[in-house]
Amino acid sequence: MNWLREHKTFTVILSVFLVLIIVVTISYRNIGNSTVLGRSADRVVSLVQWPFSAAANGIKSGLRGILQFRSVLAENEELKDRIAELNREIIQIRLSQAELDELRTLSNVLGYEDVTPHYTYVTADVIAMDGSNWFNLFTINAGSEAGIEKDSVVINGDGLIGRVLESGTGWAKVISIIDEQNSVSFKVFRDLKLLGILSGDGKGSLKGYMIDPEAAVIEGDILITSGMGMYPEGIPIGKVTKVEWNNDTLLKTLSIEPSAYFKNLQKVTVLVKK
């Protein structure tokens, strides 16, 4: 004890480090389960961040419009063509939908039970992103009041973004698939029988392997979610950039480029189970 009294500075520093390490350990054991204090802090911070984020996004969009006027015009023309193309696709989809409704009615008449989960879509703005550059974690301005809960799936126009790590009133914290510790099951869009598992590679991208070592997957193949696990079927994940045979695991391993760019997200859609 005398030694501790004589070395006050050292004792204080050591105590602070010990307390912080205890906090880290407790937090690690309860990932995604904040205390009331943590939730309140998140709520207050998201309320403060929202106007700043909205102003910054507004200024950026305005400046882009002014400085890149020609490219915006070209993009506008391109989007008009895309809208026309999508309208044609919508007509086809409506016809298929009518057919599907008929089949569903028939299935109800025959007494089959519908096991596919139904989702509602909640669109939210990204109000804050991880400033430390280490994770692609971000906060959105919709939360439990819109039915968003832990593990709700998050997508955008490009494809799969990730899942909700934690949510509260008016906010939800989203973790991207590239930071994800859990694996995601996928199938190859070109041949839906080819299945595999992927996860973050720790280098800002994705890596995975095919369940069948003989699977004929090639570079450039588009991967979509398989529907096994928490992610619903058919969401684009990314593109295969490299296929390799691993002699140690005797599996075909893949390098995958995610379809979404995580550093510049402004709007996302959350799939909420009905």
Binding site: F17, I31, A41, Q49, G131, N133, T139, I175, K263
Partner: protein
């Protein structure tokens, strides 16, 4: 400097970092303003600004943007300790000093942050992280130099006075006692 004032500065930096600074990314990296402030406040000011706000805003950053709470606080605390230690060996009134301090701060923060997450089982490739840190290092030096230019007038009131002692205040007091 009063703790109230430094609290406002850290709070403003935290809000800017998570909102506005995302639009100023270079190679996908935005500066860690809290770390820059921890370096500046620990090295240039007397008192415990760097320690206290480093730990507090480390917690806040982790609550909002990290899967595990406390890692940024540990890293900020370690950086503050190193910066305070460097006060004995470096002059405050020199841009070279702030350059050295910000490089050391960034490297120590990155190594500690990476090590802790690695120990907790998170996947983070060391070379990939260090490549990102090189970009961040230049960004942090730039931000630290800008912040230095802003606060140095407050830290050393009469910079052109050649006879003024420019080192550590505690050291100066001990010299006077002798």
């Amino acid at each position: 400097m009063r703790y109230r004032t430094s609290l406002i500065v850290f709070l403003a930096a935290f809000i800017l970092q998570s909102t506005v600074m995302n639009h100023f990314r270079v190679f996908g990296m935005s500066p860690n303003l809290i770390l820059c402030l921890v370096v500046i406040f620990s090295f240039l000011y007397e008192g415990y600004h760097g320690y206290v706000h480093g730990i507090a805003f480390g917690f806040l950053s982790d609550i909002c943007f990290a899967p595990v709470i406390g890692v940024a606080s540990v890293s900020n605390f370690a950086v503050a300790l190193i910066c305070v230690g460097l006060k004995r060996y470096l002059y405050k009134d020199s841009r070279i000093s702030i350059l050295i301090v910000s490089i050391l701060g960034t490297v120590v923060y990155a190594l500690l942050y990476w090590s802790i997450y690695r120990m907790l089982g998170f996947r983070a490739d060391f070379l990939y992280v260090m490549k990102k840190e090189v970009v961040l290092l230049f960004y942090h030096i730039l931000v630290a130099l800008i912040l230095y230019q802003i606060v140095i007038r407050d830290v050393i009131r009469h910079r052109n006075d050649r006879y003024m002692y420019r080192g550590n205040l505690q050291e100066a007091r001990s010299l006077n006692r002798q």
